[in-house]
Amino acid sequence: MENIILHNISKDFGTFRAVDGVNLTIKSGELFSFLGPSGCGKTTLLRMIAGFETPTEGSIYLGDKNISDLPPYKREVNTIFQNYSLFPHMTVFDNVAFGLKIKKRPKTEIKDRVHEMLKLVKMEDQANKYPDQISGGQKQRIAIARALINKPRVLLLDEPLAALDLKLRQHMLIELMDIHDAVGITFIYVTHDQGEAMSISDRLAVMNQGKIVQEGPPDDIYERPTSIFSAYFIGETNLITGDVYKVYDDYLELHCPDGTGKMLKLDSSFHKPVSEGTRITLSLRPEKIAISRFKPRPQDDINIIKGQIEDILYLGSHTQYIVRVGKLKFRVFSQHKRVYFDDKALDWEEEVWLFWHDTDTWLIEDNPLDILTDAELDDNGNLQRYVKRSKV
């Protein structure tokens, strides 16, 4: 098996450390994504695997071969560039044939292989066109064909869908997965779009400030984030900070100040040992909260709190409510706009009940550096500020 192994990789640009001590194994045949905000080091990492940058420290292995110092043209790794980088002075055919021509393969072989590749990406009839005569999505396919014809062990994709519009992006995503299944080699995919990363990847690594914050399968990272950063970066969430009041066998009791001097008493499951009296932060995904005009029947394992609707955003597939509880704000996704038997939809400033099962919260962090006075709402500035102060 030819895994990609990143061993203690760091990269400095002058005094700026772009990648900071990354250790990672990407399994052969896997579709692996690096996900993170711009400047997090994901592209630098990719460029080091491709050979365009040399690591300041550490080594990169392909199988058991150390490839850290090989120039790009000696690596069995090919790249799909963000703007495709098709050669403008060559036809589609010549672009795809480029790698084989460099290797001086016989003409008939080149012709057969190019047509085979163009067929794979459904572009057989465009062979004689020039890059400026085809559309963005077609360029994308040609870039893929041009890379795959060299039979690389690993295909690197650097934000390959960033230049396409939304519909085409969704379509190409599915096609990329099909191509991955067809060729069976390792794909390493870099993106800042969590939706893309979640839907396409077997596993992914969330990166921030040159470090890997969390790695694992998409559902694992979504359901069980290990840091505030990954909880926020993948999907949206409500963060709840409070003090552990009492620890039971399978749940704990939490006292959360709501900012007005009152205390919310909440129950939550937990997956690692915590002691009474410590301050912890929980993540609660907005779609796990139910919202109602009527108070639900109390149950042992259900948290129920009362709040007031501050904002309603109708988003088609779901509606987002912002609900004020004391000085805290909860974001709630409800799959359809709630309309009750009295034929009235929930309205601004209406008092509502929020409730969720105590296993729906996920313990992220002990002893957070800050108490979040409200669950910060889609305010990137605030998020960034918090993320910078928190332990990575």
């Binding site: 491709a50 050979g51 365009f52 120039p71 790009p72 043209y73 790794v77 090919n78 790249t79 560039f81 703007n83 980088s85 098709l86 050669f87 403008p88 002075h89 480029f98 790698g99 460099i102 290797k103 004689n128 020039y130 041009r146 890379a147 060299n150």
Partner: protein, 293 residues
Amino acid sequence: MLSSREVLQEKKKNLSSWLLSLPSMIWLAFFFLVPYLIVVFYSFLTQDIYDVKFEFSLDAYRQIFTNGYLQPFFLSFKLAIYTVVICLLLGFPVAYYMARANDKLKNTLLILIIIPFWTNLIIRIFSWRIFLSYSGVLNGVLMKLGLISQPIEILRTNLAVILVMVYVYLPYMILPLYSVLEKLDFTLLNAAMDLGANEIKSFFLITLPLAIEGIFAGSLLVFIPALGAYLIPQLVGNQQSLYIGQVITYKVKNIPRNWPMASALSLTLLFMVAIMLLIIYAIYRHHLAKRSS
């Protein structure tokens, strides 16, 4: 079909275009086109001992092929080719370096190239005379270093002519090369290397073809003036090997003037330039046709 109102509008626009461009048209017709017609006319006249005689003859053209006039043409052509090739070889890495510099440095480098470019031509030639002359700086330095025991003749050689030609016309090559290389997407080179091409191959397969317009433009900008060079051969060359620009000038300036000969030589030079332009245009068209088919 245009409506009558639209036709009227068109006519008004055309009239103002005529009025605006007529002065330049008349000027260029009188002082650019007409003079060439006179040159053509004179090239078929007869030269007496002292002056032109208005009698048709092909004497001037006949003389070009019989009286040793081909040598200056050949010399000028050789000079132009040498100058273009050397300018290209020197200019390409320079333009490449400039194009890849960061934006702040780029402006400084551009200024450094432009200052000599905007300095008076005759002064630049003159400075080389000081540098190369028999008692000049270069000879002085070479003697101090003990490389030569007595001054050598560098000025007044064909080598000096090529050297100064390159010096004067290098910026004409660098600037168009720079402007194409600056627009070159350098990730294409990354892509080529990613696909297995080493530095040398990616240079020949990607950089060079994409810089071809700059190479054509720069080569033309150097080739054309080099072919008609007068001042540089006159000031740093010798009188044993004359370039065509010098020969034409002597025919006009030296008494007795020989207008038919000067005209015939000028038209032959013009013909050479036209052939050259056609060849380059054909190559260029071929290059474009391949892309737009």
